[in-house]
Subunit: 243 residues, 2 copies
């Protein structure tokens, strides 16, 4: 079975790093990629800084099959993602006719001015494909293996829905979990031995505290449902009180 | 005024990248650092993979004044952060007497076995300082400029509270914001011109959709409260309907 395609997420925005805004796009993308059989291997957050964006996108696109970015494609002066991506690829960026026409029609319908700031959202790097934005029209774009999307969560989600069907997926990552009302320290020995017997699966332990007592969620992940069930049967036998 | 110290966050854990668990530690740390006058410049998430951890921690510790990590310091087989950090620094790791004594006393008090798995949590790289864990005792550690902490949010937060007072802070980052019930496209022109007049401040626009109408939160950030107020007065005059 071939390995699944890989991906990285790049969140762009000072507001995430200052603590003003909570990034919710990475978690959303992670779930969608897992279902689509693409392995999210890394995520990064950088500020609205041209050099930081260029360096991160070049590091990630060289290493992973797909890179998804969120943020920085609006009309204001701090929206510098599109030109930074163009610079990372070394291609020109200019107002593109099809993106301009989409936005022009949108603002005409709403009887709003298609002013210079809004026209910035029609600037697309040469060679890119547009990503549909059914919510606020201003498109994202795909350049090479980099998918550049909005930071506003509902627009980001709509753009992910536009892009994902165009990508090669793999086997969805499946998982089963078992809750054990004991601390990790009591579980770790036998759980580690079981994990060593199933090198084709990934087993993780996620501790929690509930009503002052320690417990653990044990998770078995893999692409083969039969193997996961086999391992889960063994795991349940190791911890018979679990649920 | 000297620039504030810088920091990066490194989240370690497959469960974040698979979408099973939402990372809440980065957002918490971001807020705490902002209050303490340390600028969070980058955040990364990597999986429970030794090479990925080593590469990320070495890249970040060379570039920023402080690096904070979360996750992977428990007793199970997938907890490989401590040995990966030791490898990144090229120092040995072994069971350390003071950490061992803390844990031994803790499990004796609770009449629980201090077994081999739990003893792993006393493994600390040579030259590190322990970080107090008032919740579940197993300590984090500081090695060089890297602060290694637990992934469980309440333990992470307790460890941040232990570490932050030991670090050199700067001027807290202050901010004021103005809500404008217009889309970014109408605001962008005058807002960008104002931003250019105040190069010592950072101005950002964060769009939202409410009841089908577009609006924007305009945020002015900086270390000087007087300058922020001056800019905010100008901003409010530009958008007199704002609140």
């Amino acid at each position: 079975m071939p390995a699944n395609p890989t991906a990285a997420m790049l969140v762009i925005g000072d507001e995430i790093l200052s603590g003003r805004t909570r990034d919710v796009n990475t978690h959303y993308l992670a779930g969608e990629l897992t279902r689509h059989g693409i392995t999210l291997r890394e995520a990064r957050v950088v500020s609205d800084d041209r050099d930081a964006i260029i360096e991160a996108v070049n590091a990630l696109r060289a290493r992973y099959d797909n890179v998804f970015t969120s943020g920085g494609i609006g009309p204001t002066h701090d929206d510098i993602t599109a030109e930074s991506i163009a610079a990372a690829f070394g291609v020109p960026i200019s107002i593109r006719a099809d993106a301009y026409a989409l936005l022009d029609a949108h603002y005409k319908r709403r009887e709003m001015a298609f002013n210079e700031a809004r026209q910035r959202m029609a600037r697309i790097p040469d060679g890119a494909t547009l990503i549909d934005n059914p919510i606020s029209i201003a498109p994202g774009f795909t350049l090479g293996n980099v998918h550049v999307m909005a930071g506003v969560p509902n627009i980001f989600q709509a753009m992910v829905a536009s892009v994902l069907p165009t990508l090669t997926g793999g086997a969805p990552l499946l998982s089963q979990s078992l809750r054990v009302d004991r601390g990790e320290g009591e579980i770790a020995g036998p759980f580690g031995e079981l994990a060593a017997e199933f090198p084709d699966l990934s087993m993780g332990s996620y501790p929690f505290v509930q009503n002052g007592a320690f417990g653990s969620n044990l998770v078995i992940r893999g692409a083969d449902a039969g193997r996961i069930s086999e391992a889960m049967t063994r795991l349940a036998a190791l911890f018979p009180q679990a649920r």
